[in-house]
């Protein structure tokens, strides 16, 4: 097979690109996402202080730093075998619900919103949040307000909005004041209201996308944390569900390496992750969480979840990720209200000093399972690190769906629709390329159409003149 010639435009244009292979009849044979940069945090973390992992690993990703912060702190605590005080556990939950709310609001409305509200074939100039601001100012104001509520909660409880810091091994370093707790309690109610208000418009758009829904069906397993059937974002084992809906296995954080295996992918710095058992492909994230779990333990989200599950289970179309995120946002809002209005009392932190050993943490990032694994010596230095991020867990599912969307739209002859259809498939998973391979990157910008490995056409949003 001939190698790809990356021309100057594409080299500049992309941290990531898509290759679309066609067969002899001109039909789609395979679409593939390529991530073109790497930082290599597994190497960068070696030799640093274990106790400071929660402060530096957040820097892997500016979109989900709270997930990395939490994964590292959880890893250290699992290795030591310490349980944090109740007040700290509640505040962590409060911060994390704010984080999921911010991330889901960004994904659903700011990033995917233009696809939904302006249409997949809208010109690119109309498909961004600024043009939405002109066309639907009230909608955009509500969306930004929703995201702000989430992120402000992260800032108040976590100390900072991007790259929060207050979670320390053994607990939390400080607690918000009574006034701040009261504001957050109100914001919880406000957020639930905004999500419920905006959901109708999203549903009516999703209702018109039956073709995409069918195209993005995935014959894969679901992986998600589960606390005996309840959605859990940390501190629970991982469940594996087959694509017929049968629960097949479960494993705790410290057994992840016996259950998962990473594969190098062609032309990409991002590795995929599969189950070791049968080398099976899976997906992670909101869709998997709602396939595996039947409750949230908050009333409004539970009502929505029951309705969602009644309409088919397991749900295996990537389009349903969007609905799953809406339900999760309602849960976050409810939980924010209940924790903030209940208040916290008592000790915030138990002093801990780790010895030599292995430290593994597994959490649900907004986009799926995230694992941090550190080895440390008796001086408290990291001697080895392994990181598995959610977007890796969705890599092959994303390839599957972007291929399907290309099949759906190739014959239309509309290149804009073809390209955006593939990007939309990726956006359904809310991929975080800064996380994936712990690299930098943005959404793909360039599509290479190939036959027998030879590039037929290169499509990009805007060629340099």
């Amino acid at each position: 097979m001939k190698s790809i010639v990356v021309n100057p435009i594409t080299r500049i244009e992309g941290h990531a690109s898509i290759t679309l292979d066609l067969d002899d009849n001109g039909k789609v044979s395979r679409g593939h996402l390529k991530v073109l940069e790497i930082r290599g945090f597994e190497k960068l973390l070696e030799g640093m202080e274990l106790m400071k992992m929660p402060l530096i690993t957040g820097r892997i990703c500016g979109v989900c730093p709270a997930a990395h912060h939490l994964a590292s702190v959880t890893a250290i605590e699992n290795g030591i075998g310490v349980e944090v005080p109740e007040a700290a556990a509640k505040l962590r939950d409060l911060m994390y619900m704010g984080h999921i709310l911010h991330s889901h609001a960004l994904s659903t409305f700011v990033l995917t919103g233009p696809d939904l509200f302006e249409g997949l074939d809208a010109p690119s100039a109309d498909r961004n949040v600024f043009s939405m601001l002109r066309l639907q100012p009230d909608l955009v104001r509500k969306v930004l307000r929703l995201r702000s509520i989430g992120q402000k909660i992260v800032e108040i409880v976590g100390g900072r909005g991007v790259h929060p810091v207050t979670l320390v091994p053994g607990g939390i370093a400080s607690a918000p004041g009574a006034e701040e707790m009261a504001s957050m309690a109100e914001w919880g109610n406000e957020a639930a209201g905004i999500v419920e208000e905006l959901s109708g418009a999203v549903f009516s758009r999703l209702g018109t996308m039956a073709d995409a829904r069918t195209a993005m069906e995935m014959p894969f397993k679901s992986l998600a944390l589960s606390n005996n059937g309840s959605v859990s974002f940390f501190g629970a084992p991982c469940s594996v569900m087959g694509n017929t809906g049968k629960t097949e296995a479960s494993f705790p954080a410290e057994k992840y390496a016996e259950n998962l295996v990473e594969h190098t992918m062609e032309g990409s710095y991002m590795k995929s992750v599969r189950l070791s058992e049968g080398d099976s492909v899976f997906f992670v994230g909101p869709l998997a969480r709602l396939n595996i779990n039947s409750s949230f333990t908050t009333p409004r989200a539970d009502t929505l979840l029951a309705g969602y599950r009644q309409r088919g289970l397991p749900r295996t179309s990537a389009l349903d990720c969007i609905e799953a995120r809406l339900i999760e946002m309602v849960h976050c809002a409810e939980k924010i209200h209940s924790i903030a209005s209940g208040g916290v009392k008592g000790e915030l932190c138990i002093p801990v000093i780790p010895g030599a050993g292995r430290f593994v943490g597994m959490v649900e990032a907004p986009r799926g399972i995230l694992i941090h694994d550190f080895d440390a010596d008796d001086r408290g230095k990291v001697t080895g690190a392994n990181l598995i991020v959610a977007t890796q867990g969705n890599y092959e599912a994303m390839d599957h769906c972007l291929t399907a969307m290309a099949e759906l739209n190739l014959e239309s002859g509309n290149e804009n629709l073809l390209m955006n259809g593939m990007e939309f498939a990726l956006r359904c998973f809310d991929p975080c390329l800064a996380c994936a391979t712990h690299t930098s990157g943005s959404m793909p910008m360039v599509v290479h159409v190939r036959r027998d490995g030879r590039i037929l056409r290169t499509l990009s949003r805007r060629m340099e003149s």
Binding site: L36, F130, K152, T264, S440, R462
Partner: protein, 312 residues
């Protein structure tokens, strides 16, 4: 006419762009004052349209980054290095300590979950030999470090640049807004690895915990120490440290900490050199740290931080 703003991200985490969105309601006011012609996180524009102000996040890690940066420089009048990665290398710049092959060998060949037959990917753009801040590649007009810069400073920087009146950018250290009180103590004990301390209103240094607040530029509104966590130095060194060749973060911290805790300077120095990879992490790949005559970060990190073995 509104000023045109164009942004790009290189090797980084996109957190600086998220911080821009964290202007929240003020983002909408900003949109009234400036026109974003390119902002990768929010718009589909992939070219490099001409703009008055260019904002670049991230360091230069690959040939991609270098070319994107040159395109940005050529398309904008004023270029801002946005965030600590662009200004000093930041966390991306930690790769400066390691050969590119040792990074690739680790990620694709030496991890618990990497299959035994896996190899490094082919057909990917090669990494450059090292990681550098953007002013090593193009002329930079302004630096706005911070990991990320607090949205307050993002708005202030843009407004200042566009000639608005009001508060001006200052260059004080993180300590300048700290609510903790320095207390002179004589029998302190060095708490290695600690990120917080028992007394919430007393300076970390007085309590034997290394905090970089006194040697770090305040682009954060001192959120960490005021919320119970040490300053990790994420906005890079303060102007005093940058401008004086004989001043270095470890010597300054050791001196101050000795005065308020009684811990011998030599003990603090030895600890910070041993943990150089942690304490210098945000500006490792910048000459503001490595060109100092008394600083041997690479040697400390390689010889004294266990696990740092090099190949290629």
């Amino acid at each position: 006419m509104r000023a045109k703003v164009s942004t790009e991200w290189l090797s980084g985490c996109s957190g600086c762009h998220v911080a821009m969105v964290d202007l929240h309601e003020k983002l909408l006011n900003l949109v009234d004052e400036v026109e974003f012609v390119r902002i990768p996180v929010l718009m589909d524009e992939k070219g490099y349209p001409e703009a008055d102000v260019g904002i670049v996040e991230g360091a230069v890690r690959s040939a991609h980054d270098r070319e994107a940066l040159l395109k940005m420089r050529n398309s904008v009048k004023t270029l801002i290095a946005f965030g600590t990665c662009a200004s000093y290398g930041g966390p991306s710049g930690i790769g400066w300590l390691h050969g590119r092959n040792s990074i690739i060998d680790k990620v694709y060949g030496d991890l618990l979950t990497t299959g035994p037959s896996e190899k490094a990917p082919t057909g990917v753009p090669e990494l450059e030999k090292s990681v550098v801040p953007i002013d090593e590649v193009v002329k930079v007009d302004f630096q706005l470090p911070g990991c990320p810069p607090h949205p307050y400073y993002i708005a202030l920087a843009l407004r200042t640049l566009l000639g608005a009146s009001g508060p001006v950018m200052d260059a004080k250290p993180v300590c300048s807004q700290c609510e903790r009180k320095m207390e002179k103590r004589l029998d302190g004990k060095l708490r290695k690895g600690a990120v917080s301390a028992p007394e919430s209103d007393v300076c970390f240094l007085s309590q034997g915990v290394v905090c970089l607040g006194s040697v770090t530029l305040n682009r954060c509104q001192t959120q960490c120490p005021n919320k119970g966590v040490v300053c990790a130095g994420c906005a890079g060194p303060s102007p005093a440290i940058i401008m004086e060749p004989q001043l270095d973060i470890r010597t300054m911290v050791a001196k101050r900490m000795n005065l308020v805790s009684g811990i011998p300077e030599s003990e603090i120095l030895e600890y910070m050199e041993e943990e150089a990879k942690t304490f210098y992490s945000y500006a490792l790949s910048s000459p503001v740290f490595y060109r100092k005559p008394t600083v041997e970060i690479r040697e400390w990190a390689r010889e004294r931080c266990s696990g740092v073995k090099e190949s290629g």
